[in-house]
């Protein structure tokens, strides 16, 4: 009986997926995204500033703030270097650790994946990429190659079935994990090629597996579409994404072979990471201009239909209960509506529709088990009052 229910659920998911691919805007029951307050300037050149809300749970806020900026030490946790909260379009809290400030650029790890989501979104809006179409990877183009069925959506949702998962969490020594070989070992000169040159280890679309190689592959596909090599992609990101939202400090990095790395390494200040989150809080629009296509943000924040997934959308994390014991809830303590860009050492841009809020946490957290560092941040967000969508 449970098996049959499981099967039914899978069928329902597949049906939902089919409908979803056809009409991304019609996705499930998502909390509506709040709009930018009228009469308030957009934070393109300057962030409007405000104070902490009067109905903040101050005791909880202070407690978790102290935890986040707790005693530091190498390999220790609570080494937060930037913490920034935007609510109602204004920065209401901002703090930096000693030695860091508003002008400090922070290097992302996997938060870059969410930038790749935005890059892809811009190209979809321009009609130059189609998420439902097979990914144009030359190595997969053979008629009998099972990988020829992998679509851009499969890649964005990390359910391509490719055997290129990062390899953390399986007890594998990080030095020999796929991601290490990809970024720093034999794959490092041309990581997109390295990530593509693997067989399937699951049927296409069925299984969610976190893969930096997949993000780099998407970035390479975007670069191919943009043309002009490294400078072409860099300029496109600047003109179509970073400049329109005032993210002037953003600096993406590239592989020796020239492709945008896509899965790691975008540098930006905390205020600019908050701008990135704000673009998603405002449904991909900025001051009357649509940057990301209609429905794109909802697509990014809807858990994808892989059988083992509830916590990942399309290059964004979703704060649902995980589907299995070996996965973690992305941000314990925070509301379910949160979706987020996340990187190693607990870098996070959390977008909270029910509170009209974006929270950014940057710093180190080497060797800290996930819940230990995440709970203070999730609970700090929970201390902020709800704001209903206008």
């Amino acid at each position: 009986m449970p098996h049959r229910l499981g099967h039914r659920r899978r069928c329902a998911w597949l049906l939902a997926a089919a409908i979803f691919v056809a009409a991304p805007a019609a996705a499930g029951e998502l909390v509506p995204l709040p709009s930018h307050p009228e009469a308030l300037p957009w934070p393109t050149e300057r962030w409007p500033e405000g104070s902490l809300p009067k109905d903040l749970d101050r005791a909880a806020f202070d407690l978790h703030l102290a935890e986040l900026f707790g005693p530091k030490g190498r390999g220790g946790f609570q080494d937060t270097r930037a913490l920034l909260v935007v609510q109602g379009g204004r920065i209401v809290f901002e703090r930096y650790a000693e030695g860091f400030g508003r002008d400090s650029r922070f290097q992302s790890w996997s938060m870059a994946k969410s930038v790749t989501n935005a890059l892809t979104g811009v190209l979809v809006r321009q009609g130059r990429l189609d998420v439902a179409a097979p990914a144009a990877v030359p190595q997969w183009s053979g008629p009998d190659d099972p990988r020829s069925g992998i679509t851009l959506a499969h890649l964005l949702e990390m359910r391509s079935g490719l055997d290129n998962a990062d390899g953390f969490g399986t007890g594998e020594d990080f030095r020999f994990a796929f991601i290490s070989r990809l970024l720093f070992g034999e794959g490092s000169r041309s990581p997109a090629q390295y990530a593509a040159a693997v067989p399937l280890d699951h049927p296409v679309g069925s299984h969610w597996e976190y893969s930096t190689g997949t993000s780099i592959l998407i970035a390479a596909l975007c670069g191919q579409m943009i043309g002009g090599g490294t400078a072409g992609t860099r300029d496109f990101l600047r003109h179509e994404l970073f400049q329109p939202i005032g993210m002037h400090s953003a600096l993406p990095e590239f592989a020796p072979s020239g492709e945008f790395l896509g899965g790691v390494f975008v540098h930006a200040t905390a205020r600019d990471w908050a701008r990135f989150g704000y673009l998603y809080l405002r449904d991909g629009t900025w001051n009357g201009r649509r940057i990301l296509p209609q429905g794109w943000v909802d697509y990014a924040r809807t858990p994808n239909p892989a059988e083992n997934n509830r916590i990942y959308g399309a290059h964004f994390w979703v704060n649902e209960e995980p589907a299995s014991d070996n996965q973690w809830k992305p941000l314990p303590g925070a509301p379910q509506s949160v979706f987020m860009a996340e990187g190693a050492n607990f870098q996070m841009v959390a977008i909270v529709p029910t509170k009209d809020l974006v929270a950014v946490r940057l710093g180190e957290a080497q060797g800290t088990p996930f819940p230990e560092i995440k709970e203070p941040f999730g609970s700090l967000i929970a201390a902020f009052p709800d704001r209903s969508a206008p």
Partner: protein
């Protein structure tokens, strides 16, 4: 016997160590390069943020070329270089 012993050491220690050093040196070169030239931080602070398992690997800033060399003698060496507007990349 000696040949077998040397072979074993080669197979069991030298080759895996070389691979690990190659990956560690690349990671260190790239991370230090971005930290110094993009984030404008001091070398000592940058090193303190890296995994302690990479402590034996040496790092040298080649400031005139905005380049970083990371190496462990006889075991591995990688370089990363900064380019204005593009950040750091491995060589």
């Amino acid at each position: 016997m000696l040949a077998i012993g040397t072979g074993l050491v080669w197979w069991q220690w030298y080759l895996p160590t070389r691979r690990a050093v190659d990956i560690g040196a690349a990671m260190l070169a790239k991370q230090i390069c971005s930290c110094v030239y993009v984030a404008s931080r001091e070398l000592a602070d940058c090193r303190a943020d890296q995994f302690s398992s990479m402590d034996p690997i040496r790092v040298e800033l080649q400031r005139d070329q905005q380049r970083v060399r990371a190496w462990l003698p006889a075991l591995g060496e990688r370089f990363a270089a900064y380019r204005e507007g593009f950040g750091c990349a491995l060589e």
